[in-house]
């Protein structure tokens, strides 16, 4: 009997996590980078955004959202061309493994890495920078589905984009600038509403702006919803944008995914 596509996907996820954990440098970097950023921003912007709300509180939202983009989109769009160079994908192509199982494995890797990263960031932020953690069950649940859907969305877009770099060596140069520009446009490093309007509108086309907004709804007081462009958190819109990008990304990934560089 044929082993199930989803079951094989989960087995691949386990294997991916094992491989990831054994690369010390990447584990340390994935965990420490957001903490370092928080440390830098927390040290530079010492003041409060509003009474009782620190800059760190605002930036943590952006940090977690861009963590999804880094760990999902950026990492995969660079790692998959390298796997192509190494022959990992060519070997898999020669087995009965479905590309879907491979995609599921990557999504599991991204999700688990995200949970660990967010845990470390929040623990560190709460201990040293007075970060307030979400204070209602509703917010925790929202936080949960944002991480979950965000991981899947970032994974599938990373897989779809992995078709663009010709090989592993050039991948980082192609992918990184896109991510950095998107981060600036999406209000990760600045307060979104202070950005020029054309930048806001451009950013609204991509998931990162919405993820960041969703994370603000988790970490900032309810009163801050009025500070958003639409005077609301727009939670349903966030879910819709993420879902649309996930579906489009899946279709693209299935169409453009290449096992080898020929």
């Amino acid at each position: 009997m044929r082993p199930g596509i989803i079951k094989v996907g989960f087995l691949r996820g386990g294997l991916e996590i094992k491989q990831f954990m054994r690369q010390r440098e990447s584990v340390v970097f994935t965990l420490l980078f957001p903490i370092m950023l928080l440390f830098i921003f927390g040290s530079v912007f010492k003041g409060d955004l509003a009474p009782g709300v620190t800059f760190s509180q605002y930036f943590v939202a952006g940090m977690i959202a861009s963590g999804l983009v880094n760990t999902g989109f950026q990492q995969l769009a660079i790692m998959i061309p390298i796997e192509r160079d190494f022959g990992t994908l060519k070997r898999l192509r020669g087995t009965p493994v479905s590309p879907i199982s491979y995609f599921i494995g990557k999504a599991i890797l991204v999700f688990v890495a995200m949970v660990v990263q967010v845990g470390a960031l929040m623990g560190f932020g709460a201990a040293l920078f007075g970060l307030d953690l979400p204070n209602t069950t509703e917010r925790w649940l929202r936080f949960g589905w944002l991480i979950f859907l965000g991981s899947i969305c970032a994974t599938i877009l990373g897989i779809a984009f992995s078709a663009v770099p010709k090989n592993g060596r050039g991948a980082s140069a192609v992918v990184s600038p896109i991510v950095i520009i998107l981060q600036f446009f999406s209000g990760v490093f600045f307060v979104f509403t202070t950005l020029p309007q054309w930048m806001q509108q451009f950013a609204a086309l991509f998931p990162l702006k919405w993820l960041t907004q969703g994370m603000r709804s988790v970490f900032l007081p309810e009163s801050f919803a009025a500070e958003e462009v639409a005077k609301s958190w727009e939670i349903p819109q966030i879910a819709i944008v993420l879902l649309i990008w996930t579906v489009v990304g899946t279709l693209l990934a299935l169409k453009t995914f290449r096992w080898s560089d020929k």
């Binding site: 009997m1 044929r2 082993p3 079951k7 094989v8 087995l11 294997l15 094992k18 491989q19 054994r22 690369q23 796997e83 190494f86 022959g87 990992t88 060519k90 070997r91 192509r93 020669g94 087995t95 009965p96 493994v97 479905s98 080898s260 020929k262």
Partner: protein
């Protein structure tokens, strides 16, 4: 003479058996691989278009070790990668286990479940151990072999828990074979499997391949080593510039078995040379003529290497 009646009875039996066998019906068809008129052309700006494979015909029976022998760049890997479903072709018919590898569609899974591939060079899964990797790959197949015994068969027992990035080249290749056979394939493709092996490792590797054949696996291997083809293959196809120049058993390759012996000697200060099917008789005649020792007498049969080099156009 078989009467028409008996004949139709036999036919109906065969038909019934094949119905009973269900999907294994092509087991009755003894060909594991059949290729006719295979063509593949590469176009590059520098060289224009070049036929990497220029009309190849092959038939590989079930349970045989078939070697494709040829110099580098002869089209071996291109041919095998077309059979493995990695590359498209520009012409010809290909059937592997009764299926066209270029038109698998929904049958991709079922077909790949029945074949095993050992690629030319791989560098993946560095951070996993041998046993983790083999066990994981077993999950991909419907009827895998036992991972422990596969690791044992390829001689990696001692390296079972070693990380792949600590393996030597030969051990890495054995792991590749382990991953190629873990799914219990009916056909195993091996692309230049022993390149870079030391002599001892090659002999052990050949033994492993023979054992697989004895268990009923059909093996298609490419090699540029003549001795490898000679030691392993039941039949050899010699391929040069994308064309097959001969298909035969290693013993008969290039007409080696019937090649004439060359006898040469010195007579009146001149070197004399004749070719003969009966060298002993010729030498006896010469001995009689010279009344004993024949000056500078040599009798040479062409070696397999001489024949092969002649075939591939080397002086």
């Amino acid at each position: 003479m078989v009467s028409a009646r008996t004949h139709s009875l036999i036919l109906s039996r065969v038909f019934r058996y094949s119905q009973l066998l269900g999907q294994d019906i092509d087991v009755a068809n003894e060909l594991a691989i059949s290729v006719s008129g295979l063509r593949k052309t590469y176009t590059s700006k520098a060289n224009g278009s070049k036929d990497a494979v220029a009309g190849i015909d092959l038939e590989v029976s079930r349970g045989e070790i078939f070697a494709i022998l040829g110099p580098n760049g002869a089209g071996k890997t291109t041919t095998v990668e077309i059979l493995e479903g990695y590359r498209d072709r520009d012409g010809g018919e290909v059937k592997v286990l009764g299926q066209d590898p270029a038109k698998l569609g929904r049958d991709n899974w079922a077909w790949r479940n029945r074949i095993g591939i050992v690629l030319q060079s791989t560098n993946d899964a560095q951070d996993l151990s041998v046993s983790e990797t083999v066990k994981h790959f077993a999950n991909y197949y419907s009827n895998p072999r036992d991972p422990e015994s596969v690791i044992h068969d390829v001689g990696l027992d001692e390296k079972k828990n070693a990380r792949i990035n600590t393996l030597s080249g030969g051990q890495r290749r054995r792991l590749d074979v382990a991953l190629g056979i873990i799914g219990n394939p009916e056909i195993l493709f091996l692309d230049e499997p022993t390149t870079g092996f030391d002599p001892e490792a090659r002999r052990a590797f050949w033994e492993l391949i023979r054992n697989l054949r004895d268990e009923g696996t059909t093996i298609l291997l490419t090699t540029h080593y003549l001795d490898e083809a000679e030691a392993l293959a039941d039949r050899v196809a010699v391929i040069v510039d994308g064309k097959i120049v001969e298909v035969s058993t290693p013993e008969n390759l290039g007409g080696r078995n019937t090649a004439k012996a060359r006898i040469s000697w010195l007579e009146n200060g001149q070197r004399q040379e004749i070719e003969s099917d009966f060298p002993a008789a010729e030498v006896t005649k010469l001995v009689a003529k010279f009344g004993g020792e024949v000056p500078e007498l040599t009798v040479i049969r062409p070696s397999l290497e001489d024949i092969y080099l002649k075939m591939i156009g080397q002086p």
